[in-house]
């Protein structure tokens, strides 16, 4: 918690590759929503990144330090 890094999109999990243009973060393409949620959860547990749903079939995994200061 001592040093707060800049929030960074660590990777992207999508069911619709057309919605994402690769630009720095790795993109994982899932078959369906169930697989998308599963991949996102695994990546989150592995990397300690927070999963956010952009409501267009794209999940982004964001690395920042959680907490009230967030």
């Amino acid at each position: 918690m001592a040093e707060a890094p800049t929030p960074q999109v660590f990777c992207v999990v999508t069911t619709d590759p057309g919605r994402v243009v690769a630009g720095g973060a790795p993109v994982f393409v899932a078959q369906d929503e169930e697989e998308q949620a599963r991949i996102a959860m695994w990546l989150s547990r592995i990397t300690n990144a927070t999963v956010h749903d952009l409501h267009n079939g794209v999940f982004v995994l964001v690395v920042n330090l959680p907490g009230a200061g967030g």
Binding site: A2, A40, I46, N48, T50, D53, P66, G67, G70
Partner: protein, 325 residues
């Protein structure tokens, strides 16, 4: 105090020592949460308290008996206490990476400062006690020492979050599928369906409503919110580990139409709201917020609520937050 040119005033020294030690012990008992509770921590503090009280109690007899060397050495010892704050701060900062819900830099600073000042307070109480004993009679000195002791306890008891904020339970719900709300305060976006189910089943939502102006400025302070989150997690536990970032307890203000209300969401181990409430209410108000009385966003709040004219705020917020009847 041997080697001095006058007789040593043992009564003054003993009264001062006792008063100083009592002052430190009293604050240790009241503020146990602030402080490492394992035996080592207590012994260190007791030792430091005894040294501080001895310094305070010995200064007056030493000066009166014209023992300048002793008096000078005692002031040198006093400078040691300044180093304590640094040590304490370093310890807490190092611990920060190893605890799941951090205290935050503001809270750590407050704890360290309080710790340092308590030793000086013990010294001061001891000095006053021994001064009174030396120049008045023994019984009058004891009386003065006791009054000083009580006064020191009264002056140093800081205010608590519960004095400025009303704490009540709120309903945890999701809006638009993924936005976590506690009552009408939006906290965060939760992407994982699995986490959302768990939040609904096991989470506790707490609404923090300021009842004083200071309460509102307190909630706008991020450091204070982190302190509240830390105390909440310490009280009821938190289902979290490395790899579960979304399960960290969060305190957020009601946005984008701020009215000073904040909400806390926590995924507790012990589902005990009264305990959680008590812990939040007992969280100390941080030093950095104490002097701040008027919250800055207050000015904007009226502007936003009266006309809702700020297009930016309107566009950014979820539709449900718009203050229409």
């Amino acid at each position: 105090m041997s080697g001095g040119s006058g007789p040593t005033d043992w009564a003054a020294l003993v009264v001062g020592l006792a008063a100083g030690l009592a002052a430190r012990l009293a604050s240790m008992d009241r503020e146990r949460r602030h402080y490492p509770a394992w035996p080592g921590g207590y012994i260190t503090q007791l030792t430091m308290a005894a040294i501080a009280a001895l310094i305070g109690g010995a200064v007056v007899p030493a000066l009166v008996s014209k023992n300048w060397t002793a008096a000078t050495f005692l002031t040198l010892a006093a400078t040691q206490f300044i180093g304590l704050r640094q040590t304490e701060m370093k310890t807490l900062q190092a611990e920060e990476d190893l605890i799941l819900v951090g205290r935050g830099p503001a809270y750590i600073m407050g704890i360290a400062t309080t710790f340092e000042s308590r030793n000086f307070l013990a010294m001061l109480v001891a000095a006053i006690g021994s001064l009174a004993t030396h120049f008045l009679k023994l019984d009058a000195g004891i009386l003065v020492a006791m009054v000083t002791l009580v006064a020191s306890m009264w002056f140093t008891s800081g205010s608590r979050v519960g004095e400025h904020v009303r704490v009540r339970q709120g309903k945890v719900r999701f809006e638009k599928g993924t936005l976590l709300f506690v009552d009408d305060v939006m906290l965060m976006e939760v992407g994982l369906p699995h986490s959302r189910e768990r939040f609904l089943a096991e989470g506790i939502g707490v609404v923090l409503e300021p009842i004083t102006q200071r309460g509102e400025s307190m909630l706008w302070n991020i450091g204070q919110r982190q302190a509240i989150a830390h105390e909440a997690a310490a009280a009821v536990g938190v289902q979290k580990d490395i790899g579960y970032p979304e399960q960290t307890p969060l305190v957020r203000m009601k946005m984008p139409y701020p009215d000073g209300t904040a909400a806390l969401f926590i995924l507790p181990v012990v589902h005990d709201f009264p305990r959680l409430k008590a812990a939040i209410e007992a969280t100390p108000v941080l030093e950095s917020v104490r002097s701040q009385k008027w919250p800055l966003p207050h000015v904007r709040k009226r502007e936003v609520l009266e006309e809702g004219r700020s297009a930016g705020l309107r566009a950014n917020g979820p539709a449900a937050l718009r203050p229409e009847p």
